[in-house]
């Protein structure tokens, strides 16, 4: 593989990783039921209140996207001075 290909691949991995972490941020905002009327009686879906199910689904999404972001992370074993 040519050095240029390697650099392009690295750049793509970084972009995908940033997009995944952006998605994680969006899911966190959606997971908190701030947009629902407070103290309203919820609908029970799959055995739990609907706002709990929404939050749970968001957190499943967060876990998947965050795990992929970790696998794409370039964690080196030396050098790289900060920042």
């Amino acid at each position: 593989m040519r050095p240029g290909d390697e650099t392009a691949r690295e750049a793509r991995r970084r972009r995908v990783r940033r997009a995944l972490l952006g998605g994680v941020g969006v899911l966190y905002v959606v997971s908190v039921p701030w947009y629902r009327g407070p103290d309203t009686a919820p609908v029970i879906v799959l055995g739990v209140p609907d706002w709990v199910l929404v939050a749970f689904c968001c957190y499943v999404g967060v876990a998947v996207m965050n795990a992929v972001a970790w696998l794409l992370a370039d964690i080196r074993d030396g050098e790289e001075d900060a920042p």
Binding site: P33, G47, N66, P83
Partner: protein, 476 residues
């Protein structure tokens, strides 16, 4: 055989296995250096690293304190899944930058990074010491929470044969013993056993709780009938508290000294990335389960007081044990799993406390065997102090966790901003940490824990970051 006797036997067997692992770890040590004692010679692989991170992050609070909090707050405690996940999310800002530096410069303690980042600057030494002191106070508080949880669980697992104080003192001595004997190796290997026990125990627990109540929908209906607010959509203040807790725990726990030291202790960067990818799923299979367990206790124990509610899990298990021989054995296994979770956190905290005080607060050399000895002595002294405080619990386990996080989160800018903002300077960072800590402490001392649901520690963090960034900007 009574449930109490069975519990004592199970506990005894578990302690024997722990002792064996500690002895093997003691024989496996290579030298007396701090890197070997505190970081296991930097050789932790994916499986051990994953389970030690899991057992460390998911503590006694997760297994004992979180069902109690779910009992108090109802389904809104699903927020705990969010903030535990946030630890692995915020770590994305920390680990990929810190790891290469840790390897190149052979860091042992969190303060090694601060000394490296701000070397030669005015305020560098003071920043290292202040961050070390704040971390020490936060960790000592965390240790206290584990000791309180140990006392509750040991007393319940033995059906009262072991009194609360004996659980605190006896198990503290066991933790100190294997941590002193085998260092990080013993801690990580026992964490593997403890992590597996925790995982299996929680699965069994959920199976029983839901089976007993007739399924999840039946649990929710019973909860709604007993305490309607437990299923209602949270109000604005509760939503703000939800968001604030994600920030508080996500940012605060990402700079746990014991977690930072595991970043240093990994065999390679790739190993670390894989372990963290696995870890990110654990809140879904751990915290969701303990939340459901706590919520299911609402109709069963309708009117427990705040401190009393900390014993929700032991009470549930006692009910399970009374249901027959299978229930007794299963409940005993879960009890031991809970104890394992608590001890695995306590051992990691203790190990970090010794190294942070010796290396960062007292400034001892990171490659001198005498530092290892001093670290062990400090750990023992702090443990004795915290054990005496744990004998009379005054706060709920969750409040102890919040207090720890409100302090710990003030150390985060030194790491998270220090790794990403090149113009950051030591003096403004130091002033930021001090101001943030004073704001958080003022909240604690005046009894104002939250303002409109937002933790005082998060407000302190905002001031802390503003001072560090604006102050550094002026200088450059």
């Amino acid at each position: 055989m009574s449930a109490g006797t069975l519990g004592v036997l199970g506990l005894g067997l578990y302690l024997v296995v722990l002792g064996g692992l500690a002895a093997v770890a003691h024989r496996a040590r290579r030298d007396l250096s701090p890197a070997d004692h505190f970081l296991a010679g930097r050789q932790l692989g994916v499986f051990v690293l994953f389970l030690t991170l899991y057992a460390t992050a998911f503590s006694g609070n997760s297994l004992v304190g979180y069902p109690a909090e779910a009992y108090r707050r109802g389904y809104a405690w699903i927020m705990a899944t969010a903030f535990m996940l946030a630890i692995a999310v915020v770590s994305q800002m920390l680990v990929p930058r810190l790891r290469p530096l840790a390897v190149t410069h052979a860091f042992v303690t969190p303060g090694d990074w601060i000394r490296h980042r701000f070397r030669g600057e005015r305020g560098c030494v003071a920043a290292t010491v202040v961050v070390g002191v704040v971390m020490t106070v936060a960790l000592a508080n965390f240790l206290l929470a584990q000791l309180v949880a140990m006392g509750h669980v040991a007393s319940q697992v033995s059906g009262g044969l072991l009194p609360y104080w004996a659980g605190v003192v006896g198990l503290a001595a066991v933790v100190l013993g294997y941590e002193t004997l085998g260092g990080m190796r013993a801690v990580a290997w026992t964490d593997v056993l403890q992590g597996l026990l925790m995982f299996v125990g929680l699965g069994a627990m959920l199976w029983w709780v839901l089976g007993e109540a007739g399924g999840l929908a039946a649990v929710t209906r019973a909860v709604a009938a007993t305490r309607p607010s437990a299923v209602m959509v949270p109000d604005r203040q509760a939503c703000l508290n939800w968001a604030s807790t994600i920030v508080l725990v996500g940012v605060g726990a990402s700079v746990y000294p014991q977690a930072i030291q595991r970043v240093y202790a990994a065999r390679s960067g790739q190993t670390l990335g894989r372990a963290l990818a696995l870890l990110t799923f654990m809140p879904l299979v751990t915290i969701v389960v303990v939340t459901l367990v706590g919520v299911s206790a609402i109709p069963r124990f309708a009117h427990l007081g705040a401190i009393e509610a900390d014993a929700v899990l032991p009470r549930l298990l006692a009910a399970w044990a009374a249901s027959g021989p299978f229930g007794a054995v299963s409940a005993m296994l879960v009890f031991v799993a809970a104890l394992a979770a608590i001890m695995s956190t306590a051992d990691s905290v203790l190990l970090s406390l010794g190294s942070v005080v010796a290396g960062d607060v007292l400034g001892r050399s990171g490659d001198d065997p005498r530092t290892t000895r001093l670290g062990k002595q400090i750990a023992a002294t702090i443990l004795v102090g915290m054990t005496s405080l744990a004998l009379v619990p005054r706060l709920t386990l969750w409040r102890l966790t919040e207090l720890k996080m409100e302090l710990l989160v003030q150390c985060a800018p030194v790491f998270l901003l220090g790794l990403h903002v090149s113009r950051l300077r030591a003096l403004p960072v130091l002033i930021g940490v001090v101001v943030g800590t004073l704001i958080a402490s003022a909240g604690v001392l005046t009894g104002v824990a939250r303002i409109q649901g937002i933790h005082v520690g998060v407000l302190g963090l905002v001031a802390n970051v503003a001072i560090a960034v604006v102050g550094s900007g002026r200088r450059s």
